[in-house]
């Protein structure tokens, strides 16, 4: 069963330079118990999709399309109705753990705050917090619970925000760049944590990242975004082992382990998108005719937006 279905999602922001189309006609779904990863570079519109799902977009955003959670339309429902879902059924692991934690509150209290909102009796808060923290491989959960955020390392703070997000046992977890800014050891522990979640098989995760190696290790389904559009979507193993879209191929070749071959050029600005294929100027095998914008179509069991595939 699909826990999340996003169809024809469009998000745009009016600016002085024109309409910035941050996300265009995005379609994908996340099955229950599955980890779906959206990969994209800065400015590809990946965080905007997570924010749209969580009703966290700025007020000036123009949103259309449909987002269904467990079969129920949630994109345009009232804030009051959505607040019953956010934090309970759908949780966010935010991008910047340091900025997302309250510096004046002990870490344990920040986890217990969620338990309180979920109606867990006060006497159980301490034991539940300890069990949540020890599940995230903190060696001394009591000490962490009694610490303030500044006493933890970047990687520990990342795990703590994950603990807060998991406290209410949500059905869907949205993780925005969970490895950004972490060093190698902290990143490794974060990856292990997601691998554990995956092994448990009960959590559905929508992850947004530009860390291709993380995506490769944990994803069941993977989508690649370029200039606000999905250009490839399908089973992660296929997308990473035999990418079809030239942009996905370019991204894989740019990895240090694959020889770090750079792609020429830059992404077009979201306010001045060309009419035809957005990747045309950077494509190693461009189409001769570039009047028509390519549509997503099915190739080898996945969706690809390239008229050459």
């Amino acid at each position: 069963m699909n826990i999340l279905e996003v169809s024809e999602l469009n998000v745009a922001f009016p600016t002085r330079r024109g309409l910035v189309r941050a996300s265009q006609n995005v379609n994908f779904s996340v099955k229950e118990g599955e980890i779906c990863v959206l990969i994209g570079e800065t400015g590809s519109g990946k965080s905007v999709i997570g924010q749209a799902v969580l009703h966290l977009l700025p007020q000036n955003a123009r949103v259309s399309g449909s987002v269904r959670y467990a079969g129920e339309e949630i994109l345009l429902i009232s804030e009051q109705k959505f607040s019953r879902l956010r934090g309970h059924e759908i949780s966010l692991i935010p991008q910047n753990p340091t900025g997302s934690l309250d510096p004046l509150m002990r870490c344990g209290q920040q986890v217990a705050e969620v338990l309180d909102v979920c109606g867990v009796p006060k006497e159980e808060h301490s034991s539940r917090t300890t069990s949540i923290l020890s599940a995230l491989s903190f060696s001394d959960p009591e000490l962490v619970a009694a610490s303030y955020p500044h006493e933890l390392s970047g990687g520990m703070r990342q795990r703590l925000t994950t603990g807060i997000a998991l406290a209410a046992s949500p059905r869907l977890l949205v993780a925005d760049e969970p490895t950004k800014g972490l060093d190698y050891a902290a990143r490794k522990r974060t990856i292990e944590m997601f691998l554990n979640l995956k092994r448990r098989g009960t959590d559905s995760v929508l992850m947004i990242t530009h860390d291709l190696e993380l995506a490769e290790m944990i994803a069941d389904q993977a989508g690649v975004l370029y200039s606000g559009e999905l250009v490839e979507f399908g089973p992660a193993a296929d997308v990473f082992s035999s990418p079809l879209h030239p942009y996905t191929k370019g991204l894989m070749a740019a990895l240090p382990k694959n020889g770090m071959t750079p792609m020429p050029g830059m992404c077009p600005g979201l306010a001045q998108l060309p009419d035809g294929c957005y990747f045309h100027d950077r494509c190693p095998t461009p189409c001769e005719e570039n009047h028509v914008h390519p549509l997503m179509h099915e190739v080898c069991g996945r969706q690809v937006r390239c008229s050459r595939c």
Binding site: E41, D183, Y184, A186, L195, A253, A254, L255, P262, M266
Partner: protein, 239 residues
């Protein structure tokens, strides 16, 4: 042949314990040596000590045989263009109130006593080499992307034809494909100018792609490994 840079028994402490101790290595012209370590291992501090932005607690740094900390102010000023640093946050390395054309021309204008506008025309071949357009240099730093500012930073640094560059995680805040572009560019410019580089990073794969030898900063230990040895060490670190 005398190495370009020698670090001899360097140590640094802030009064509450050593940041690093007994760090010794040499760098030859045109060579890239990596400094690898986790957050807080002191690799950025070591980089700053090498270039003289921070004082060492002990040990000495020799650049072309001369001890950097004992040089006169005048001699040090002469030496500055030869040792340059590329920082982790490109957007914080440029003055937000200066147009890029002024920012990138400033070092050469200062060291050669020329007008910035004259200097900028000399930089045009370098600007083309890093893949930027001259018109982009009339912008302020906040109008460009991280990758574009890091390229502009490379124009600024390479304009002085440095002999040594200390690159402190120059791509850790950039996307994968932009990282490949910037590191490729660094390699090309380095090869062309025979520039030596001390490359600081916490990404083992970037290290292997960029460096000939790698110095690993552990807990108060320092060991220089060749690429093959480091590959084995990094494999133990991976998930």
């Amino acid at each position: 042949m005398q190495p370009l840079l020698s670090a001899e028994c360097l140590s640094k402490n802030y009064g509450h314990g050593d940041i690093f101790r007994d760090v010794s290595f040499t760098v030859d012209a045109g060579e890239t040596i990596g400094l690898f370590g986790m957050s807080g291992s002191g690799k950025s501090t070591l980089g700053r000590c090498l270039i003289g932005l921070e004082r060492l607690s002990d040990g000495r740094v020799l650049f072309e045989g001369a001890e950097v900390s004992k040089l006169s102010e005048r001699r040090l000023r002469e030496l500055r263009p030869a040792m340059q640093m590329l920082f982790q946050h490109p957007e914080m390395s440029m003055d937000p109130r200066m147009r890029l054309c002024d920012s990138v021309a400033e070092p050469l204008a200062y060291h050669e006593g020329r007008e910035r506008s004259d200097v900028f025309s000399d930089l045009l071949p370098l600007i083309a080499a890093v893949g930027l357009r001259p018109d982009q240099f009339s912008c302020y730093p906040n109008q460009l992307s991280g990758g574009e500012i890091q390229r502009a930073m490379m124009v600024k640094i390479y304009s002085l034809s440095p002999k040594l560059i200390i690159a402190d995680e120059p791509t850790s805040m950039l996307d994968m494909s932009v990282q490949a572009q910037i590191l490729g560019l660094m390699k090309n410019l380095q090869k062309k100018n025979n520039t030596a580089c001390v490359f600081i990073s916490h990404d083992p794969q970037v290290m292997l792609a960029m460096c000939d030898r790698i110095g690993v900063l552990g807990e108060k230990t320092f060991r220089v490994m060749n690429a093959g040895e480091f590959a084995g060490y990094a494999a133990d670190l991976s998930v």
